[in-house]
Amino acid sequence: MKHKTPLLDQLESGPWPSFVSDLKQEAEVRAKNVKGVEYQIPVDVCDDLLGILELSYKHKRTHWKHGGIVGVFGYGGGVIGRYCDQPEMFPGVAHFHTMRVSQPAGKFYTSKYLKQLCDLWELRGSGITNMHGSTGDIVWIGTTTPQLEEIFFELTHTFNQDLGGSGSNLRTPSDCIGSARCEYSCYDTQALCHTLTNDYQDELHRPAFPYKFKFKFDGCPNCCVASIARSDMSFIGTWKDDIRLDQKEVKAYVGGEYPPNAGAHSGRDWGKFDIQKEVVNLCPTGCMRYEGGKLEINNRECTRCMHCINVMPRALRIGNERGLSILVGAKAPILDGAQMGSLLVPFVKVEEPYDEIKEVIEAVWDWWMEEGKNRERLGELIKRQGFQKLLEMTNIKPMPQHVKEPRSNPYIFWKEDEVEGGFTGDINEFRKYHQR
């Protein structure tokens, strides 16, 4: 190894896959270069990466500097510039930019395709990746400025593959596995994710927004891609009609033929399955009854929390009249506190070409682009101008579904035209009846 890494070495032991071991293995592969690759960036990039990381472990501070604007021609995103603050010590990572490669919806791959991507990234980059970044992209960590265009050219020409988002753009949308392999999915998350990603390529590549904007697609309220917490606009599957219920299968669960929750709790002996205790009593709306071996659901009062279905997937299934709910504004705490998505559209059918959904998206964008301040997330704008304003701008009728509870302060701002006689009274008229 080029650099001694006594601190990092201690992260090689222990059962969990060691990124240090992996980085070392890549460093070795590059050094040996049995395949005889014409590396387009320094061969010792991984050695220097290990070296600078070791230094951070010593100083307990990062050694990376701000990026500055690097990228590919015509795009405002997809690349995060990076330079290290000790280029003499670690020339291999003096320039060390990240590229975000737009992942396929559902993160499905064939080995063939992954190997092709590796060929390209080994040649023109560090060979180090994140599979995947938190937003969802394939993240390629570390290359030099001249390679950016080369990589982009090959990606688009050879692999029919585009970059993802960064900066004040639409960020790379991502989704849960959905109907591809999940019985709970209320709509085709991959289809919607892929279509909107492509329909909004311009918004994704060319910064026209006040700040970043994220879409995430969850097939049901279990939220496996955490859309409700991590996307300015989350699309979460739901249904309108009744949970499909198979009493025979319910009996089978009660009889212990099937493991509750599809075996998710089999690591411990929780005792015999107790449908009353484990399902009926835990229903948040109390809309279930189990009597005389029959399970009853008062579907009108069900809030589709998924619990009973999760516990007895073979007996209970999502309804047939499916669609999704749209929630808006989720974000991390910077600046004035984190937000979860707030319910904007309780239910919309998911039908190509998704016009109804796109209408909502575009109405929201129009408002945000009009009113949003620089670096103001959608959620912050909603807080600043109010949820009522959002409804007004998106033409959505206010309904109790929009709130957890009505306001507890009476500070209602009335519009002048809502109040008989308006706001302009005559003080002298008033004084006729009320002396000073």
Binding site: L11, S13, G14, P15, P17, S18, S21, D22, L23, K24, Q25, E26, E38, V43, C46, L49, K60, T62, W64, K65, H66, F73, Y75, S102, P104, Y109, T110, S111, G127, T129, M131, I141, E149, E150, T156, D162, S174, I177, S179, A180, R181, C182, D188, T197, N222, C223, I228, A229, A264, H265, G267, P284, C305, H307, N310, A332, P333, I334, G337, M340
Partner: protein, 381 residues
């Protein structure tokens, strides 16, 4: 090394340039059984930790073997994944939303050999390359961020603490003895790229010192108004500073008002706040994302600060282990960590997890802080 052209011509960048084509279409990569049964799935079962079967109304079944991925992956490692997929899965695989790898096989008898193969592979250093697990009521992979390996604002590393923590939680990655899902996440600064704000247990890098001011370069390297505007607490004011004889435009920071968020640094490289002893880790707990039973919850700060003890963060992993064990011991079946804490009351949470309660944990940020205080006579001694 000789420069190899991709065909890109920097003098004519627009020359047969291709843009806006987006990602590859997902269905190119579907396993045939998935392609055929999409939308037709009836139910699933977790056959053993890390192994799932999904059954379709067509009678087809797809078997999934999930392995822990450490998110930083070299191409060499990815090639090994591909080799395994080729050998066992007809080349089909996917990654999960928590950075695990899922291998697909079309019949039950292919599971054992695949598992055997996976578990047999180890890194030179001795760690597993492909541990099978991460399903059901266990502890799956930690979502995390860049840390010292690539970012400029971290207050701690990402991959290191994650490796150290997963080593401690490894048995629970491979088993399903928890009362419910337990999700651990890490973000190396409060930008929270890991979206740790709603995890059962969150590891958050946090600075504790106001920015240093590089007066000599500040005006040259930064847009002073942008730096000032970036501060959420209005702690930054413009200032004229005399640096060896010359008066320079710079800024002054009111340390009382600073909450070390690093926004100024993001805007202005001359205001670094990384510090070996000031930086460290905040532990949060009780968040969740799913809408199951209870609505999504934010994580709460339960330990105000733990130092950056490289390379293995022993105090951090110890606190997490304590919380996990207290939760496993005391919570009801299906009860998430936050639901448990709310049922027994936070006063009991601190007692059972043997964590000290300090003034730092009381919210004092803006109006909503009020709602976190206790407006009732209901409490436990």
């Amino acid at each position: 090394m000789a420069f190899i052209s991709s065909g890109y011509n920097k003098d004519k960048p627009m020359e047969n340039r291709i843009t806006d084509i987006g990602p590859r279409k997902y269905d190119e990569f579907y396993h045939p059984i998935i392609a055929k049964n999409k939308g037709k799935w009836l139910y699933h079962e977790i056959l053993e930790p890390g192994v799932l079967v999904h059954v379709s109304e067509t009678g087809d079944k797809i078997f999934t073997v999930r392995v822990g991925g450490c998110r930083i992956m070299s191409c060499t490692h990815i090639r090994e994944i591909c080799e395994i997929a080729d050998k066992h899965c007809g080349g089909y695989l996917r990654f999960t939303t928590r950075n695990n790898i899922e291998f697909f096989v079309d019949s039950q008898d292919k599971i054992a050999p695949l598992k055997k193969d996976l578990e047999s592979r180890k890194f030179a250093g001795g760690s597993f390359k492909f541990p099978v697990g991460g399903t059901g009521a266990g502890i799956t992979n930690i979502v995390h961020t860049q840390g010292w390996i690539h970012c400029h604002t971290p207050a701690t590393d990402a991959s290191g603490p994650v490796k150290a923590t997963m080593d401690v939680l490894f048995d629970d990655f491979k088993s399903m003895r928890m009362p419910a899902h337990l999700r651990v996440s890490l973000a190396c600064c409060l930008n929270m790229c890991g979206a740790v704000h709603c995890s059962d247990i969150a590891i958050l890098g946090y600075h504790r010192k106001p920015p240093l001011l590089d007066h000599e370069y500040l005006d040259k390297m930064c847009e002073i108004p942008l730096a000032i505007a970036a501060c959420p607490t209005a702690a930054i004011k413009p200032a004229k500073i005399e640096v060896n004889g010359v008066k320079l435009n710079s800024v002054a920071v009111n340390n009382e008002r600073c909450m070390y968020c690093g926004n100024c640094y993001t805007m202005c490289p001359s205001m670094p706040l990384a510090d070996a002893v000031g930086d460290g880790i905040v532990i949060m707990a009780g968040g969740k994302v799913s809408n199951r039973i209870s609505t999504p919850k934010f994580s709460k700060v339960v330990v105000a600060f733990l130092p950056n003890e490289t390379p293995r963060w022993p105090q951090t992993t110890a606190v997490i282990k304590k919380m996990v064990e207290a939760y496993a011991k005391d919570a009801n079946k299906y009860e998430r960590l936050g639901e448990w804490a709310e049922r027994i009351g936070w006063e009991r949470f601190f007692e059972k997890c043997e964590l000290p309660f300090t003034h730092h944990l009381i919210d004092d940020f803006r109006d909503p802080a009020y709602f976190t205080w206790r407006q009732t006579t209901q409490f436990k001694f």
